[in-house]
Every structure is written in structure tokens, then in C-alpha cells.
């Protein structure tokens, strides 16, 4: 799975989460905000953004490693 594929999954999760919260538990605009980000007013959301960010950071950091794992000799 490449970077783009997983990003796509996160985006999809955002859309689904957004729709889900809109359809199933619409408890007012700020509840949806946890899925919907305010500036874009579009799917994906604070939760998804943060989770995606956490994943992306770790993924990117490992993409072109500068150091290699050196096993401890035991």
C-alpha cells in the first residue's frame, strides 16, 4: 500500500464518518465538527485529520530512511 492509497482510505473514512454522523447521530453542528473540519466544510475532520496526520508523519519518516536498523548482537 502506497502513501496515496492509505491517504485515500483516510479520506474515505472521513467522508463515511461525516455522512454517518450527519445521518445517524446529528446532534448539532459542533458534534459533526469532530468529523467535519471548519475551514473546508468538507469531509474528513479533526479526528480524521489528526489520525491521518499521525500516520502520515510516521510513514513519511520511514520512506527514505537515513539510518538502518542495526540488530543488537545477542
Amino acid at each position: 500500500m502506497g502513501f496515496l492509497v492509505t491517504s485515500g482510505i483516510f479520506l474515505l473514512a472521513g467522508i463515511i464518518g461525516c455522512l454517518f454522523s450527519l445521518l445517524c447521530c446529528n446532534r448539532g453542528p459542533s458534534t459533526n465538527l469532530y468529523v467535519l473540519p471548519p475551514p473546508a466544510k468538507s469531509p474528513s475532520g479533526s479526528t480524521i485529520i489528526l489520525c491521518g496526520m499521525g500516520w502520515a508523519i510516521v510513514y513519511l519518516a520511514q520512506m527514505k530512511p537515513l539510518i538502518n536498523p542495526i540488530l543488537s548482537g545477542e
Binding site: M1, R27, S30, P39, S46, L60, M63, P69, I70
Partner: protein, 820 residues
């Protein structure tokens, strides 16, 4: 609302506090009580105290408050009696019929009088009963004295007869002869008997001896079981005593001493038949009394039980009445004394509800005049009211603990709901620990109803209050646990095979040169191969450090964006152009740029030294970058960014105060002549009343400028120190993973190596305790506190004023929670 939508944000219920309005209600006196009661049920209006200058005794309803106070006292008395008798008040039933307050007062008075009388009787009976019990013991013990004395006398007689001729034995009394010879002119001896407390017995004996110069005979014996003292009702250990004396004066002295020592005296008939008679009489009386007392207690219990069934209801009604009268006292009486005038804050959405409540009161009290309801215009700042639910209230509390939001200010609580647990989880990333935390908090949530109704300890209360926060924290730490690939510090190859493998089949240089990447990057989280390798720490440190910077810069940018929403909402263009824009430029031209460099470095795999780049961006921006160049023309980009950052500082500092000054002067010109420059301050002060009284504000340029200066310095220095502050994310997450590795490797794996069940069991126990105590409790606490700090300081100082005050409505739902 100043602006329709709330900046460019969609209207959100938690983002802005509820719109409030100042209401004035004029209620006819006859329906006032009912109206206030209805409003209390509604709980959406906060009355202003219009009689703040009056003392509590001068207020209109002081007498009623005294009455309710008296009733509360009676109820406390009942509660006290009930707890002494071990009777629980039955829980409040919602279907109770409404009580008339006056009837209730009379009933409470009657019950109290009855209870007091029953108690007094009971006390009297109990006292008599205890006295009789004591008498009984005295009779028994003293009877033994006399009996043994008689027996020894009889023995002496026979002995005497046997030894008549022989020499006197060693034990025989020295004065035997005299006693025998003086038997004819014997003095009549009197005796007193009773009980004396054991600790006083020695002193008692000594004093008696001294006072009578030894002319008495005292016999004491301790009573084995504890005796209930009739006076105090306490159980004490006592001695029975019998004093023999001769003469009236000695008797008087002894009586006084007995009184002084609180020795209870009881008559003791010397005659044996009389003794038997008395004993029988006393035990009969005791039995009789016992029965009476039992009857009394049963009667009292039935009274208390009937009280207990209604107690909660009465208590509730009394509290309600008390709060109603307190509220009524805040209203001012109209000059005609026919109606009460009240002012209070209420959310705009509740307008119709309030009106309805007043309407109902008018109808129910059959008042001829309706209440008058109107909205007042005021310059006062309204209270802040967020409609939170049980999920968001705990998060809102985190924000409120720092400061209550200014009226309609952007509420950091909206984002805190997600960012707070996320930052916590960055420091607490381990899905094993996350699951433990989740299970604990799920237990609290599932048994929510049960826990909510009972009283919990301090710490438990806190945990329970924050159960949803903990749940979110646990969920996010499970997620970050997967990203860090740690389950109690053990990695799993869950998502794919590790991307690394040996260079050659023999794997000879795996411990010297290291493995090489042969497969695509591990798709989700940290590659498990890093765990336990020699380069684990350098790799994870670099990763987590950069991650902290990225998250920190994002959150600070979010904070600055919030200040934009605020400025937009309050239609404050000065703040947008002279504060928000330069702040955004300054932060991003330095640290936004750094974040970008980090990402570029990751994507390109460049070996550039970011510290070096950042430092020399300031020291010698014109120098050639050399091998540190990450993208073409980087030098010029950096020079541009540096210029932007340098321009942004004076931009933040100067325009706003100047603009405000300009604005102020323009406003003044419209009204009248401005005072001459350099005019005396006293003149200005005299002219101070020139504007409407509520719009009279002195514009002090220096003050505004100093304020802006402080703000600018704070922001510029803060940009550096706050970014550095986010490194705590790295430090704590490092500490957490290292600690859990130590517990796993050095405790669990070490004991596993011994191949001994007992050692293994000990190891497991230590591991569990260390995990729960250190990682799940202490680490949770410390990560929580650090996440709290990051929100309060680094995030909220970008936009949050937090100088509002909370909406405290008059509500019956709230009073029942108080005072408990």
C-alpha cells in the same frame, strides 16, 4: 448577534456561548411566588440582585426565609434522630403529591414536639432503669460482703471456742480480747453502700480515710461488667463499696465525699429478709421498666419511620421554598407595592419558555393582572452559557478551569474534545495500555447510572467526572499505540512484513552494518524491526521530535486561526489586519518553514542538517547553502521569509495602537471640541462627563501602546518557546515507551528465563503492579497534565481571553446537588 454566521465558520452550538438577553419581568405580588417557582423549574434565568444594598434582614421576605430556616433545622433534627436510630430515608418519589407549605410547617412542628417528648420520656425511663440496674449490682455485691463477713465471724466464734485455753494464733487479731470484752458497750454502726467509678476508687478511699481519721471501714469490689451510668448514659467500669461508720458527723462527711466523687449511693437493708425482699422488688421493677422502654423505642421508631418515608420530599420542598424566597428577595418592590420587579439574564432561545412560565403562573394563581415581560438594552457583558451534554461538559470544564470564556468568544472547548485526547495519546502511545484504560473507563460508563446516584470518594469522583475524557484518551492511545507499534512495548507485524531484511543470506553484518530496506515502507506505523535494535533510539528520537514540532506548529496555527474567527465574529478588522495576519506570517515564516523542511527532508531523503539550516538562516542568510540545500533557490526563499518575519514584528506592534487612537479622535470630533493638547488632566477630568455616562472612556495612548508591546513581545518570544514546549510530547512519549520496555524486558522476560514457576509468578505480579502503578496511573496523570498545559498555554494564549463569567441560573435541579 454581531455577525450572522460566526465568521466564516458555520454556526456551531459549542463554538459560541448562547446568546443572552437582559430581561425585565414585572410580576403581580399574588402570583410572584408561583412565577418564581415556575422559573426555577425551568432553570434558565439568572436573576440580578436588585437589593444588593439591603442587609438580609431588611429584605421583603426575611420572615419567610426565617421560617424555612427553622424548618430546615427541624429536618436536620429528624435526620439526626433517624441516623441515630439507623433508619434510612426512603428515596424521593417523583409522584409525590404537592404539599401545602403551611400544612407542612405545622406537621413538622407537631412531629418535632412529639419526638422531643418521646425522647425526654425515654431518657427519664432510661435513667431510672440504669439506677435500678446499679442498685441491683450493689445489692448483690454488698450482700456478698455481709454474707462473707458473717461467715468469717461465725468461724471466729468456733475458733475462739477451740483455742480458749491455748495460746493465740498468729493470725488472730491483736485487739481480739478488747473487742470481745467491749462487745457489751458496742456503738451502733451505720453503713452506706453504692457505686464509685473505678478510676476514682483509690482517691475515694484515701479521702474517706483522711476525713474520718481512719474511723471507718471501707470494703470495695470491682464490678466485672461495665455499668451504665445513669447521669451520663455512658458505660463505665465501677467499684461497689460499702462504708461502715459510727456517728452522725462521720455520716455527713461521707455523704459529702460521695457526692463529690459522683458515687451513687443506694440504701442497703441489713436485715436478711428485707434484703431478699428488696432484691425481688428491684428485679421486678427492672423487668417492668424494660418493657416500658421497649414500648417507647418501638413507638419512636414508628414515628421516625413515618418521617423517613416523607423526609426527602419535605427536604426537597423546603430547599425549594428557601431558594424561591431568596430569589424573591432579589426582586425589588414596586412603589405601589402591588408588584415585584425583577431583572435577569436569560438565553434568547428560552424567551418563549420564560413567557410561558409567567403565563402559567398568572393563570394558576388566578391573578387579575398578567406579568409584564420585556427585554432591556444594556452595555453590560452578559454571562457565558454553553449548552453542554454529559460528553462535552467534562471537556468544557477543562477550558473553564483556565478561565470562563468571554461572552460569545470562540470556545477552545470545541477543538479540545479531539486535540486534548490526541496530544495525550501522543505521549501515551501503547495499545495494550490503551485497552486497559478503555476497559476501566467503560466500566465507569456502563455503570454510569449507578455511580451517578451514589456518593463517591474524592479521587473516584474525579475519575467518574472525566470518564468520557478518559475514554477518548484511551481510544486515541490505542490508535497511537498502533502507530508506534507497541503493545506493552512489544511490536507486532500486524499490517505487513517488515520492510527490512539482511543484506545477504548469511546475515553476517546485521549487527554491524545493519539491515537494508527491501520491501516498500511498512504501511501503518513504525516498522517492528526497529524494536530492540541498536539504532532504535536515534531513529525514534528523530521521528518523535519532528512529529512534536509538526503537531505543535499545526496546533498553534489552529489557535491563530481561532483568533481570526474571533476578529471576524466581533467585526474587528483591526485585529485581522494588525494582529492575525502578522502573527500568522511570523509563525509560519519561521516554524511553518521548519515544518516544511522536515517534510521535504523526509520525502527526498536528503542528509541536510536542519539545525544548521535554521541557525544560519538568521546568522548569515546570504551564505551559500552547500550540501544543506533541500530545494533549488532555497537561499532566496529563506531571505524572503526572514524579511517577512522581521517586518511582521513592527507590523504587530505599531499599527494597532495608532489606528485605535485615530478611531478615538474621529469619534470625538463628531461630538464636540476635543480638549487642547497638553491641557491639564484636571480639565479633562472635568470634561469627563461630556459623553453619555455609559460611553465614557478615557483613551490613554501610552497604555494601549504598552499593552500592544507586551502582546507583541509575548507572541514573538512565545513562538520560539512554545514550539520548544511541544517537544514535551517527544520527551514523555520516550519516557513512556522506555519505562514499559524496562518493565517488560527486565521483569517479565528475565523471570521467564529462570524456568521456574514461582519466580515467574513473582515476576508477573511485579510486572502487573509496575504496569498499573507506574504506567497506567502515574504516566496517565503526567501525560494528562502535560496535555493540559499544552492546551492552556501554547494553544489558548493565541486567542483566548477567558475573562467572562459563568451563567448561574436559578434552578431547582441545581439546588438539590448543593449542600449535600
Amino acid at each position: 448577534m454581531p455577525s450572522g454566521g460566526g465568521g466564516c465558520l458555520p454556526p456551531m452550538d459549542l463554538m459560541r456561548s448562547e446568546e443572552m438577553q437582559l430581561l425585565q419581568v414585572i410580576i403581580p405580588t399574588e402570583s410572584a411566588h408561583l412565577a418564581v417557582s415556575n422559573l426555577g423549574d425551568l432553570g434558565l434565568i439568572q436573576f440580578k440582585d436588585l437589593n444588593a444594598d439591603k442587609s438580609p434582614f431588611q429584605r421583603t421576605f426575611a420572615a419567610q426565609i426565617k421560617r424555612t430556616g427553622e424548618m430546615a433545622r427541624k429536618l436536620r433534627f429528624f435526620k439526626d434522630q433517624m441516623s441515630k436510630a439507623g433508619i434510612q430515608a426512603s428515596p424521593l418519589q417523583s409522584t409525590e403529591t404537592p404539599l401545602d407549605f403551611d400544612d407542612m410547617e405545622i406537621k413538622l412542628g407537631e412531629l418535632e414536639a412529639e419526638l422531643i417528648e418521646v425522647n425526654a420520656n425515654d431518657e427519664k425511663l432510661q435513667r431510672t432503669y440504669n439506677e435500678l440496674q446499679e442498685y441491683n449490682t450493689v445489692l448483690q455485691k454488698a450482700g456478698e460482703f455481709f454474707y462473707s463477713a458473717q461467715r468469717s465471724a461465725a468461724a471466729q466464734q468456733t475458733e475462739l471456742g477451740a483455742n480458749q485455753s491455748g495460746e493465740t494464733s498468729l493470725e488472730s487479731p491483736l485487739l481480739e480480747q478488747d473487742v470481745l470484752t467491749d462487745a457489751s458497750k458496742q456503738v451502733k454502726l451505720g453503713s452506706l453502700s453504692g457505686l464509685v467509678p473505678k478510676e476514682k476508687a483509690m482517691a475515694f478511699e484515701r479521702i474517706l480515710f483522711r476525713a474520718t481519721r481512719g474511723n471507718i471501714l471501707l470494703r470495695q469490689e470491682s464490678v466485672d461488667e461495665l455499668v451504665t451510668d445513669p447521669q451520663s448514659g455512658e458505660k463505665v467500669s465501677k467499684n461497689t463499696f460499702v462504708v461502715f461508720y459510727s456517728g452522725e458527723r462521720a455520716k455527713a462527711k461521707i455523704l459529702k465525699i460521695c457526692d463529690a466523687f459522683r458515687a451513687n449511693r443506694y440504701p442497703f437493708p441489713e436485715d436478711l429478709s428485707k434484703q431478699m425482699h428488696t432484691i425481688a422488688e428491684v428485679s421486678g421493677k427492672i423487668k417492668e421498666l424494660k418493657a416500658t422502654i421497649d414500648m417507647g423505642v418501638a413507638h419512636r421508631n414508628t414515628i421516625l419511620k413515618s418521617i423517613a418515608s416523607d423526609f426527602e420530599h419535605w427536604n426537597h420542598v423546603t430547599k425549594k421554598e428557601k431558594s424561591i424566597y431568596h430569589t424573591l428577595n432579589m426582586l425589588s418592590v414596586d412603589v405601589t407595592k402591588k408588584c415585584l420587579v425583577g431583572e435577569g439574564w436569560s438565553p434568547v432561545f428560552a424567551t418563549s419558555q420564560v413567557q410561558d412560565a409567567l403565563q402559567r403562573a398568572t393563570l394558576e394563581s388566578k391573578s387579575q393582572v398578567g406579568s409584564i415581560f420585556q427585554v432591556l438594552n444594556t452595555k453590560e457583558s452578559p454571562p457565558t452559557y454553553f449548552q453542554t451534554n454529559k460528553f462535552t461538559s467534562a471537556f468544557q470544564e477543562i477550558v473553564d478551569a483556565y478561565g470562563v470564556a468571554k461572552y460569545q468568544e470562540a470556545n477552545p472547548g470545541v477543538f479540545t474534545v479531539v486535540t486534548f485526547p490526541f496530544l495525550f495519546a501522543v505521549m501515551f502511545g501503547d495499545w495494550g495500555h490503551g485497552i486497559c484504560l478503555l476497559l476501566a473507563t467503560l466500566y465507569l460508563i456502563i455503570r454510569e447510572k449507578k455511580f451517578a446516584s451514589q456518593k463517591l470518594g474524592d479521587i473516584m469522583e474525579m475519575m467518574f467526572g472525566g470518564r468520557y475524557i478518559i475514554m477518548m484518551m484511551a481510544l486515541f492511545s490505542i490508535y497511537t499505540g498502533f502507530i508506534y507499534n507497541e503493545f506493552f512495548s512489544v511490536p507486532f507485524e500486524l499490517f505487513a512484513k517488515s520492510a527490512y531484511a539482511c543484506r545477504d543470506p548469511s546475515c553476517g553484518d546485521a549487527t554491524t552494518e545493519g539491515l537494508i530496506k527491501v520491501r516498500p515502507t511498512y504501511p501503518f506505523g513504525v516498522d517492528p524491526v526497529w524494536h530492540g535494535s541498536r539504532s532504535e533510539l536515534p531513529f525514534l528520537n528523530s521521528l518523535k521530535m519532528k512529529m512534536s514540532i509538526l503537531l505543535g506548529v499545526s496546533q498553534m496555527n489552529l489557535g491563530i486561526m481561532m483568533s481570526y474567527f474571533n476578529a471576524k465574529f466581533f467585526r474587528n478588522n483591526v485585529n485581522v489586519w494588525c494582529q492575525f495576519v502578522p502573527q500568522l506570517l511570523f509563525l509560519n515564516s519561521l516554524f511553518g518553514y521548519l515544518s516544511m523542511l522536515i517534510i521535504i527532508k523526509w520525502c527526498t531523503g536528503s542528509k541536510a542538517d536542519l539545525y544548521h539550516v535554521m541557525i544560519y538562516m538568521f546568522l548569515s542568510p546570504t551564505d551559500d547553502m552547500g550540501e544543506n540545500e533541500l530545494f533549488p533557490h532555497q537561499k532566496y526563499v529563506q531571505m524572503l521569509l526572514l524579511v517577512i518575519a522581521l517586518v511582521a514584528v513592527p507590523w504587530m506592534l505599531f499599527p494597532k495602537p495608532l489606528f485605535l487612537k485615530n478611531e478615538h479622535e474621529k469619534r470625538h470630533q463628531g461630538h464636540q471640541y476635543t480638549p487642547l493638547e497638553g491641557a491639564d488632566e484636571s480639565v479633562e477630568a472635568e470634561l469627563g462627563h461630556h459623553e453619555e455616562s455609559n460611553h465614557h472612556e478615557e483613551f490613554e495612548f501610552s497604555e494601549v501602546f504598552v499593552h500592544q508591546l507586551i502582546h507583541t513581545i509575548e507572541f514573538v518570544l512565545g513562538a520560539v518557546s512554545n514550539t520548544a514546549s511541544y517537544l514535551r510530547l517527544w520527551a514523555l512519549s520516550l519516557a513512556h515507551s522506555e519505562l514499559s520496555t524496562v518493565f517488560y524486558d527486565k521483569v517479565l522476560l528475565l523471570t521467564l528465563g529462570y524456568n521456574n514457576v514461582i519466580i515467574l509468578a513473582i515476576g508477573v505480579v511485579i510486572f502487573i503492579f509496575a504496569t498499573v502503578g507506574v504506567l497506567l496511573v502515574m504516566e496517565t496523570l503526567s501525560a494528562f497534565l502535560h496535555a493540559l498545559r499544552l492546551h492552556w498555554v501554547e494553544y489558548q494564549n493565541k486567542f483566548y481571553e477567558g475573562d467572562g463569567y459563568k451563567f448561574a441560573p436559578f434552578s431547582f435541579a441545581l439546588i438539590s446537588d448543593e449542600e449535600e
